[in-house]
């Protein structure tokens, strides 16, 4: 029988791959634990400025992860994710200011409101087969007219802005999410870790495989029994709902909301730059991208401040250059390349 040695050889090569997989994942777990420890200890030695920068990094790691679920995994490009941030922020802030409702309860309202928007966009687009560029345009349109709506929504301040009362800054009130920056730091750290774990679980589950299949080839996905409408709708709901929690954080951390800012296209672009630069469709891409972009951006601001140069819009130009470099030299993002260098194989299917 000629088949037999072949089977043995194949089995042997499979077990070699499995063994090295285990080594890779052990190394990944060690690196992740070290990173998490460093992040947990950060407020002990960081000054106010560094802490605020770290909060920004984690914030973008969180929203980047949420956006990446939809684009990186399911292949649906949203250029209007500021919509969910804004809706979530306003929902929780309005309940807090007008009725004294805790942001923990407010978050549920925020998610519910965002899900309603996401469902509307998803059903409209996916039922009528709107994809690609047209879907992206639809997401921009929704973010824009929601902004215009909030500009005239006087109950939450209209275009004049909506403000949360800032007081008792020294004490920590977790229930009402009032406290010093360190509290917000740990809060957003928990969010970023939870988003990472959620993305990981989803990636390894049936829905994750189905999202990847839809991203790769929708006709083939359909032919394999995947109800693409349902799974694309699930992607926009999960992503939008997650993003709205970032809005709740945003509202209680910054305490000021302006429709013009929070719903702006620029905010949507900021959300997507991290995952693109870090690596679309990868778990670490959004985290890495948030680190690289925010820290480089802050470093550049510090540098120009020190040199006494003030050029408006310089940061945007800088982001543009970063994007250009990555698209030209690392079209899959930084993470896949870095993973190879670190001896961590990126998960199959990541791109």
């Amino acid at each position: 029988m000629s088949g037999r040695p072949e089977t043995v050889a194949a089995a042997a090569s499979r077990s070699v791959v499995r063994a090295s997989d285990a080594a890779y994942s052990r190394r990944a777990v060690v690196l992740l634990s070290l990173l998490l420890l460093a992040l947990l200890a950060l407020p002990l030695f960081a000054d106010a400025y560094l802490l605020s920068a770290a909060i920004l990094v984690l914030y973008f790691a969180y929203v980047g992860q949420a956006w990446n679920l939809m684009m990186g995994y399911c292949g649906q490009l949203s250029l209007g994710h500021s919509l969910y941030v804004g809706v979530g922020a306003y929902a929780a802030a309005a309940l807090f200011v007008h009725f004294g409702v805790s942001p923990w309860i407010g978050a549920m309202a925020a998610v519910a409101a965002s899900l309603a928007f996401a469902a509307l966009i998803g059903v409209l687009a996916f039922r009528f087969g709107i994809g690609g560029v047209y879907f992206a345009l639809l997401t921009i349109a929704f973010a824009e007219f929601t902004r215009i709506g909030f500009d005239h929504f006087d109950w939450v301040g209209g275009s004049g802005g909506f403000f949360l009362p800032v007081k008792e800054f020294g004490t920590i009130d977790l229930w009402r999410l009032r406290g010093p920056p360190a509290m917000f730091y740990y809060f957003v750290l928990a969010m970023a870790v939870a988003a990472f774990l959620a993305a990981w679980r989803l990636r390894e589950s049936r829905i994750g495989y189905y999202w990847l299949a839809i991203r790769e080839d929708e006709d083939a996905a359909r032919a394999l029994g995947i109800d693409t409408f349902r799974y694309k709708l699930a992607a926009i709901l999960v992503s939008g709902g997650m993003t709205s929690i970032a809005g709740v954080f945003f509202a209680f951390y910054y305490n000021t909301l302006f429709p013009e800012q929070i719903f702006s296209m620029a905010r949507s672009i900021e959300i997507i730059l991290g995952p693109i630069i870090g690596g679309l469709g990868t778990l670490f891409g959004p985290v890495l991208g948030a680190f690289v972009l925010t820290l480089l951006g802050e470093a550049m601001t510090a540098l120009t401040d020190a040199l006494g140069i003030s050029v408006p819009g310089l940061k945007q130009v800088f982001y543009g250059v970063c994007l250009l470099i990555v698209v030209l030299f690392l079209p899959n993002g930084i993470w896949p390349e870095l993973a190879k260098r670190l001896g961590l194989r990126h998960a199959p299917g990541d791109r």
């Binding site: 390894e204 189905y210 299949a213 790769e216 080839d217 109800d227 299917g349």
Partner: protein, 241 residues
């Protein structure tokens, strides 16, 4: 009752009649072929069975359950798997992951689907490529992957759209062997569209010939290739290769 019953199927595209009044049966456990010259309506026929677009008239039933009006994903869940003439691998996913997607059609659990994928990949001799991205496969390997993914959905009938095209004769023979074994060992019913007569003659128990969207002949392969009408429209001087 035949497993697949196609009755008076018809479809026009902007007035152009692609398929008209096509009826045939595929018996459970058999292998049947759908042949005909280019533009005869073979792929349209497949797409109508698979629910890619609705038929203008006629009906399709699988084991007595009507498939007419169902979407492609619903047709697949009813037990009809198909491959595409132009292969559509999930290029950035590994070979295993491609097949896992298919296996998840009947299995909810990813670990179980992985085990099933390994089993199916062994059936088509792709196990050595299991961890490679599908984009790195050669054309014959991609065709095998397309087949593996479809089989992994655990279909009652497998529709193969020109899986032999572009393969060398030895590769055709290997592929024929794969289908023979699948048919023999698991009783899988197969309906194939094929231009490679070598494969049709080797595999099919029954052949349906389409020409200009209409069925012009049906029967055992040996009889069909001797039918004057078929020779005239399709085989011409090429006959048996």
């Amino acid at each position: 009752m035949a497993l697949l019953e196609v009755r008076s199927l018809g479809k026009s595209f902007r007035g152009l009649r692609a398929v008209a009044e096509v009826s045939f049966d595929v018996e459970a456990g058999s292998i049947a072929a759908l042949i005909g010259p280019n533009g005869a309506g073979k792929t349209t026929c497949f797409n109508l069975i698979a629910g890619v677009y609705p038929a203008d008239n006629g009906s399709v039933a699988l084991a007595g359950r009507t498939l007419t009006g169902l979407r492609p994903d619903q047709v697949c869940r009813e037990g009809v798997a198909r491959t595409f003439q132009v292969v559509k691998p999930f290029a950035q996913l590994t070979v295993t992951e491609n097949v896992v997607v298919g296996a998840l059609n009947t299995l909810r659990d990813v670990a179980a689907a992985r085990a099933e994928a390994a089993r199916v990949l062994a059936l088509v001799h792709l196990e050595a490529k299991a961890h490679q991205p599908a984009a790195s496969l050669t054309l014959p390997e991609r065709k095998l992957l397309e087949v593996a993914r479809a089989i992994a959905t655990r279909p009652r009938i497998l529709l193969l759209d020109e899986v032999m095209a572009g393969l060398r004769p030895t590769e055709v023979d290997e592929m024929v062997e794969v289908f023979r074994r699948l048919n023999r060992d698991s009783g899988l019913t197969i309906l194939l569209i094929e231009h490679v007569m070598r494969a049709v003659m080797a595999l099919a128990e029954r052949v349906v010939v389409l020409h200009h969207g209409e069925k012009i002949c049906e029967g055992a392969p040996e009889d069909v290739v001797r039918d004057p009408q078929v020779l005239e429209c399709y085989l011409g001087s090429e006959t048996l290769d």
